[in-house]
Every structure is written in structure tokens, then in C-alpha cells.
């Protein structure tokens, strides 16, 4: 299979590989996928409690080159965004950016799931409701 240059670039130079302290209140962790399906992504975000801006994002992925690239790209995209902005990232954006073929679309879906799961985890830890989010956003 031929990979797009962007997939190859993320595979060769994955951005933001690593681990954040998942017990920290400012960190949200999303672990999605399953080993038997051949891909597992862990995406972590560190959120500024004042601004709700994602200041740091890290990932580790078990999966094919496209899965690695999708999660690597996801960390780049969420960084600097507020939590609610990050929720707007769609798998189709990832497909477009990485020129993923149809057979690899599930990799982008997984990356979107990982972002949502990480944000969900952070919200749960911090008791953030939709209303509180709106309030901060309006600030």
C-alpha cells in the first residue's frame, strides 16, 4: 500500500509521543480501540483549569502507520485549542489532511474517539458540565 507523504512524515517523526500523569486532575486520558482489532490509541491532554485551553497533548498508539499518523496529527491539532474547540475536530478532517484511503478511515474515527474520550475523562474528573463550559467560553 502506498502511503501519503503526510502519513509517512508522521510515522517517521511522530509528534508528541509520551505519557502524562493520568492521576493528575488537569489531565484527561482517552484509551480507545482494542489489541485484537490491531489498533489501540491513548491520547492524553493537560488542560489549563482557568482557560480550558489544552496546553499539552501526548499520545501512544499501537497500530498501522495510518493509525500512528492520525493520533500524532490529533495531538497537534488539539494543542492550543479550548476543550470545546477540540470537540469540533472531525474524523473527516483527519482523513482529508492525511489523504487516508477508504480502508484506513477507521484510523481517523479512532483518533476522533480518542480526543473525545480524553476530554470526557477530564470533564468527569473536574465535574465540568456543558453549562460551565459555555460560561467559560463566553468569558
Amino acid at each position: 500500500m502506498a502511503y501519503s507523504d503526510k502519513v509517512v512524515d508522521h510515522y517517521n517523526n511522530p509528534r508528541n509521543v509520551g505519557t502524562l500523569d493520568k492521576s493528575s486532575d488537569t489531565v484527561g486520558t482517552g484509551l480507545v480501540g482494542a489489541p485484537e482489532c490491531g489498533d489501540v490509541m491513548r491520547l492524553q491532554i493537560r488542560v489549563n483549569p482557568e482557560t480550558q485551553v489544552i496546553e499539552e497533548a501526548k499520545f501512544k498508539t499501537f497500530g498501522c502507520g495510518s493509525a500512528i499518523a492520525s493520533s500524532s496529527l490529533a495531538t497537534e491539532w488539539v494543542k492550543g485549542k479550548t476543550v470545546s474547540e477540540a470537540m469540533e475536530i472531525k474524523n473527516t478532517d483527519i482523513v482529508k489532511e492525511l489523504a487516508l484511503p477508504p480502508v484506513k478511515i477507521h484510523c481517523s474515527v479512532l483518533a476522533e474517539d480518542a480526543i473525545r474520550a480524553a476530554i470526557g475523562d477530564w470533564k468527569k474528573k473536574n465535574g465540568v458540565t456543558e453549562a460551565a463550559e459555555v460560561a467559560v467560553a463566553a468569558h
Binding site: 511522530p14 509521543v17 482489532c37 490491531g38 489501540v40 499501537f62 498501522c64
Partner: protein, 417 residues
Amino acid sequence: MSTVTSTVEVPAGVTLPIYMDNHATSPLDPRVLEAMLPFFTSKFGNAASRNHSFGWEAEQAVENAREQIAKLIGASAKEIIFTSGATESNNLAIKGIAEMYKERGNHIITQVTEHKAVLDTCKRLEKHGYRVTYLPVKADGLIDMDDLRRAVDDKTILVSIMFANNEIGVIQPVAEIGKLCHEKGILFHTDAVQAVGKVPVDVNRMNIDVLSLSGHKIYGPKGVGALYVRRRNPRVQISAQIDGGGHERGMRSGTLNVPGIVGLGEACAIAGEEMASETVRLTGMRDSLRRKFETELDYVEVNGSWEHRLPGNLNMSFVYVEGESLLMGINDVAVSSGSACTSATLEPSYVLKALGLGDDVAHSSIRFGLGRFNTQAECDYVAEKIIGIVKKLRELSPLYEMVKEGIDLSKIEWAAH
């Protein structure tokens, strides 16, 4: 920031890309090409032309090839039928026997890790009223002889069990299977594509009645294969699946592919002469690969029996690293993976699953198929390269990190998608 691409210096005498996928196909031996060439040009006759020298010349070349093939498997030349390859040989053997012996019974026994050419042929026969038993394999990839004994009934006409597996290289207990079939009066077919020319095959000693082989797996040309069909004790009869001019004792019509057949014959002759020395060389290289991986990496597993295995096969799982991502890092080395992502169906290898391996281990498998033209220097390069990539991908692997922290992955509720 980590960089996945590992920079391993290419040693002198090694040219990239390196071909290490000899179970898929093998390069043509230059000596085979040499033998074939005249039959494309000056010696172009039709082997079925009985009334001129062009035909006689071609026929003589074909008969010579028949002898060469027969010699390699302990058969007589008259028992060799030429086909277009092993897929056709397997189809002809199984369908041809099923049709010919249908008055005697409708039950066929095979096993789950057969090549699709056997499995899909059997599935088709099931639609036509045949009963097929698919024997399981043990964790080492071999069938249990007791399972086979139990599966036999009074309607069993054929047992079709491969000689050596194309993915994990394990060699089935062919002589034992043949003995059992012989005692029970059941025909025994074996798909010996991966075994012929690699390990000793003797159709009489092993009680093989029908055997499929192919040219391109043994440094011969593609598009040519053969079917051994026993002529006595018992005399096996096969219904033709291709009708026409009645070539090949009426079992396979069609003008013979003379250059291909000459190539197949020559490939068999060379394989016979060089098998002993090649076995020593290939097992040496294969063992060195395994040793390097096991020394440098944790969580590596050999898939399938190590004892009953082809000399050139190493199938290993680099657990917690996904196979396709590993292949992506070694794009100047041709090997293959049991990973779902490398298959058309997005399902991991059914062969590895049949061993009872978890899908995650199957996703992490790499098949190294060493052959006549591989060198130790190539193996050293490939080993070093793979070790580097596996280490880097494990830095990226959440599973590896979790296991290292002592987390039991089987206890996690994964959101399967």
C-alpha cells in the same frame, strides 16, 4: 521527539531492496532460465505434434522434465501431470477425485490451515452435496493424528492435508497420515508446494496418492505446476476438470507450456542436487535471525512448531507492535505480515488464529521466507533493522508501556470497534 526510521548501515555486498518473501514466490534461478530459453524461440514445437521433428523435440523435453520432477519426489515419470500451477493442481486433485469416487462416498477430510486453493475448493464441493471435515490444529500448527482417526468414516474418500504450511512453515506428519489413509483405503492428497525441493519428499515411503507442486516456489517459472497421480497401489483416477484434446492421460487438456515445463524440470533437478547443502545454509541463517531477535528484544514469539519446520521459514510475533507499522519501517525489505491491515479482508491471518494465538499476536507477526539467494549479510542487516524499528515502535506502543508497568491487558475492558 523520536524518529521511527532507523538508520542501519547497509553492509558491503548487500543490495536494497532485499527479498525475503520466498514463500510467496522465488526468483528464477539463472540456470533454469538458461534451460528454458531455447524453448521460446528455436525449439517452439507443440509437444502434441506427432509427425515432425519440432513436435518430437518438444515432447522429448517435456518427458525429460517429467523424469526430473518424478525423481525429486520418488515417483515414476508417467505419474506426473502438468498444470498451470498448484492452485489448478489442488482443484484438479480434489474436485477430480470427488467426482470420480462419488459412488464410494461423499466425505472429505482436510484441515483449517490449508491454502485457500484447498479450502475454497472444499467449500465449493460442500455446496454440491459433499461433506467436509476441517480438522483443527494444535498450538504448534500440526494436526492431531487422533483427530484424523476419529474423523474417518465409511463415506470418507479423500484426505487432503498440506505437506508444509505457507505461513508458519510447519511440516505435517505426512508419512503417518499416508499410512493411516493407506490402511483405511482412503486416498491421500497433499499440497506440497512449500515442501517439494526444500525437504525430502517420497510419495511411496509416505503413501502419498496425489501431490500438488508448483514451479515458482522452487526458483522455477510462474504459471507451471504439476500433479503427481499414483498409478498403482492404488491406481488413482481423476475426472478431468478441463475438457479438450485429451492431453496428460486425459486428465488435463491443453497444449503443454513447454518452456515452463522445462523450467520446472530443471528447477526440480537443481533442488534435488542442492537440497542438503541449501538446508544447512538456510537453517543457519534462520536460526541466526531468531537468535538475534530473542537476544535483543523481549516479548517475541515463534509461531508454530520449531522442530517440524521448513529450513527457510521463520514466523515471529513482535508483540505490542502492529505488523503493518513494522513493515512500513522496513520498506527496503520484502517480508510479509499476518496483520489484518496487510490483508484484503482486514482480518488477521486465519492460520495464526487457528494456532489459538490471540488476534493481537497475529497482528504482530512477520513471516521471513529465506531462500537460495539470501545471504548471511542480508540476514544481519534485516535483523538489525527490525530490532531498531521494533524498539522505536514500542516507545510508541501504549500496550508495551502498560505491560511494562505490570498491567494485565486481558483485564482491561477494550472498546472493540
